[in-house]
């Protein structure tokens, strides 16, 4: 009875039922985890201390092991098998997965279109962090202590609150293209281009160019993050240092080059690496633009396509591992850096 009740809460269909399942969901979570705490608090002394430690840490550890550690291990194993289903025991004798060694990793280089995906990913990971950080830094410097700083910041920062799907839609409209001769261009870019007498450009439909067009969207989103962190770092530079430099007659670009830049160096690295990680994992923009069908895919979107669309879970797993291998050293570096600062 209870099981079917809980199941029903997760699969509600009407709006009213969904809101009820929201309440039930919260109630179940509260009952389970607060119940555990309540029970644990009944024990006293050294034993109680131990039991309470388990009650506090246990759920988190359990969640992480069940939903991250074990799945990650399974995905790694899956990358060494072929077959159409994730479950190794699934399927008939013919469609069942079989051990295939490093075949899925070789496919990364031999499957048509995948080298293009790798090239696109490289473009993303190079351009997005560099340009977004550059723009964010310049903007932070320009508006530092200027009038209306808060508003100026919010303008650049706002894209961070918008979903990548929403952002892509916003930019699809900017890039809008009408191929009919002499047609009105309702996308602002093509309107400007045709105003100067040139032919409109199909930004999102022309390979390589479309990758750059999508990269612009990610830069648009990430610049606000760079600006916020770097602006805080600039404000943290002690006044005495600036004052001393000024006394010595340092100003303008020299001030930036020899005082500001070295002082915020570690923040710049954190920003660059954080954006690089986000870029490697970002799949939404490509998915919302074309699903990677216009030769504009990246590793993260290709992972989704191979795993869930073309039913090549082995190849999907291999791509996930590549993302993992690319991302983990950057995150490790970042965390170590942050712990050093703290």
């Amino acid at each position: 009875m209870l099981v079917s009740f809980i199941h029903a809460a997760g699969t509600a269909e009407s709006a009213g039922d969904k809101l009820i399942s929201l309440v039930i969901g919260i109630a179940v979570f509260a009952a389970v985890f607060l119940g555990i705490l309540g029970l644990a608090s009944l024990f006293k002394g050294r034993v109680g201390e131990r039991i309470q430690a388990i009650a506090f840490v246990g759920p988190t550890v359990l969640f992480i092991v069940a939903a991250l550690v074990i799945p990650a291990a399974l995905t790694i194993r899956r990358a060494f098998y072929n077959g159409k289903f994730f479950d190794l025991n699934f399927g008939t004798a013919r469609t069942k997965a079989q051990f295939s060694g490093f075949e899925n990793f070789q496919k990364l280089w031999t499957t048509p279109g995948l080298t293009e995906v790798i090239r696109n990913t490289a473009l993303w990971v190079l351009l997005v962090p560099l340009v977004a950080t550059g723009v964010g830094l310049i903007y932070a410097l320009l508006i530092d202590r200027a009038k209306g700083e808060a508003v100026a910041k919010a303008l650049i920062f706002l894209p961070m609150a918008i979903s990548m799907v929403g952002a892509t839609l916003i930019w699809k409209f900017v890039y809008n293209y009408n191929g009919a001769p002499g047609a009105t261009q309702i996308g602002i870019l093509n309107a400007i281009i045709t105003k100067f007498g040139m032919e409109p450009i199909n930004f999102l439909g022309t390979p390589v160019l479309n990758t750059f067009a999508l990269i612009v969207i990610m830069i648009w989103i990430q610049a606000g993050f760079a600006m916020t962190v770097l602006s805080a770092a600039i404000k943290a530079i002690p006044d005495e240092i600036l004052e001393a430099a000024r006394m010595d007659g340092v100003s303008g670009f020299k001030m930036f080059r020899f005082i500001t830049l070295p002082s915020i160096r570690s923040s710049i690295i954190v920003v660059l690496t954080t954006i690089a990680i986000g870029t490697l994992k970002a799949f939404d923009i490509v998915q919302a633009a074309s699903g990677g069908k216009l030769r504009d895919g990246v590793l993260a979107s290709e992972f989704y396509n191979r795993s869930f669309v073309t039913q090549e879970p082995g190849l999907g797993a291999a791509i996930a591992i590549v993302i993992f291998v690319l991302v983990s050293p950057i995150i490790a570096y970042n965390v170590i850096q942050m712990r050093k600062d703290a």
Partner: protein
């Protein structure tokens, strides 16, 4: 932003806050007065001497605002006008709120009502924010203040798992939920969002927990309070700003998520959040920009409102290292 009491925050921010505080609180000695005068003068001089800098900043701000403005204006224009003139010509054509009504109530066919996806997004997001907040703050408390075997090793293990990208865990998780009969349910989304949030949440909240003076806890212990009571009565109120920071983060993250929703729901729109619906409908609607634009802004409205209202906490979370890809 600067008039709020700064909560205990790690690293850079703390330094920044401290610098700000010393700037603000220093007694107006002759020296500081002189400095103030000079800085003001310096600012004025700089503003005059670098008009190019100001122009460039304005150009950037306009460039960054224009795309959103374009679609926003479009969402208030009539269908016919959108396709015959650019949005920058909107001043010459009538505006309407009808697009929003149509998109919200699904005037364009079955299963296209944004109202339905709006409800889904809310039902998905609230538990997916509350649960990791509760679990992570409990774990952070234990890692900071309860002594138990393997504590440090476990903590390092939890926060090291930040390096695991979602992608590597998604396939098995989706398979398990399917096998358990929970595929496409809210449970699959609530539980996976919670799990993915925990490593970062524990790490961030632990940083805040550690900043609480030990004497406070000691006093409570002397009064005979157990860990559970200390956690709820002493610690939780103290780390409220940190909870708000991470809560907003997780809220935006779940509300704006597409990948987890797509994989767990297997493409079914029945319980899909707005991101998934919009992505789907923009294909279905094609060039019906009057619907796409209104739909997009219905989904954008909530996170933008949350962001504008709680920007202070959001920025604090960002600076404390709260970014997740």
């Amino acid at each position: 932003m600067s008039n709020a009491t700064p909560p205990p925050v790690p690293a850079d921010v703390e330094k920044a806050a401290a610098a700000e505080a010393t700037k603000a609180d220093a007694l107006p000695t002759r020296q500081s007065l002189r400095k103030k005068g000079r800085t003001a003068a310096g600012n004025a001089a700089r503003a005059v001497s670098s008009p190019w800098g100001s122009v460039f900043a304005i150009v950037l701000a306009v460039l960054w605002t224009m795309p959103t403005l374009g679609l926003f204006v479009t969402s208030f224009r009539q269908q016919g006008d959108i396709n015959t003139s650019g949005w920058w010509m909107a001043w010459s054509t009538p505006l309407t709120g009808e697009n929003y009504a149509t998109a919200f109530n699904g005037g364009s066919g079955n299963g296209t009502a944004m109202s339905q996806f709006f409800v889904n997004s809310i039902v998905i997001t609230i538990p997916a924010v509350l649960l990791p907040l509760l679990l992570a703050s409990l774990a952070a408390y234990a890692f900071a203040w309860i002594d138990f075997p393997f504590r440090n090793a476990l903590f390092v293990g939890v926060f090291a798992l930040q390096i695991v990208p979602l992608q590597i865990a998604l396939l098995p998780l989706a398979t398990w939920f399917n096998n358990a009969g929970l595929g496409g349910s809210f449970w699959s989304l609530w539980l996976s969002h919670t799990a993915f949030a925990l490593p970062l949440a524990v790490y961030l909240l632990h940083n805040f927990m550690k900043e609480i003076p030990a004497s406070l806890l000691e006093a409570a212990r002397v009064d005979g309070a157990g860990h559970v009571r200390i956690f709820f009565q002493v610690l939780l109120p103290l780390i409220a700003p940190a909870l708000a920071s991470f809560g907003i983060f997780q809220f935006l993250w779940v509300w704006n998520d597409l990948l987890v929703a797509l994989t767990m729901l297997g493409g079914s729109l029945q319980r899909a959040p707005m991101t998934m619906a919009i992505q789907n409908l923009s294909g279905q609607w094609g060039d019906k920009w009057f619907l796409t634009s209104a739909g997009a802004f219905i989904s954008i409205a909530v996170p933008v409102a949350v962001f504008l209202a709680l920007q202070r906490y959001f920025v604090r979370g960002l600076l404390a290292g709260g970014t997740k890809g």
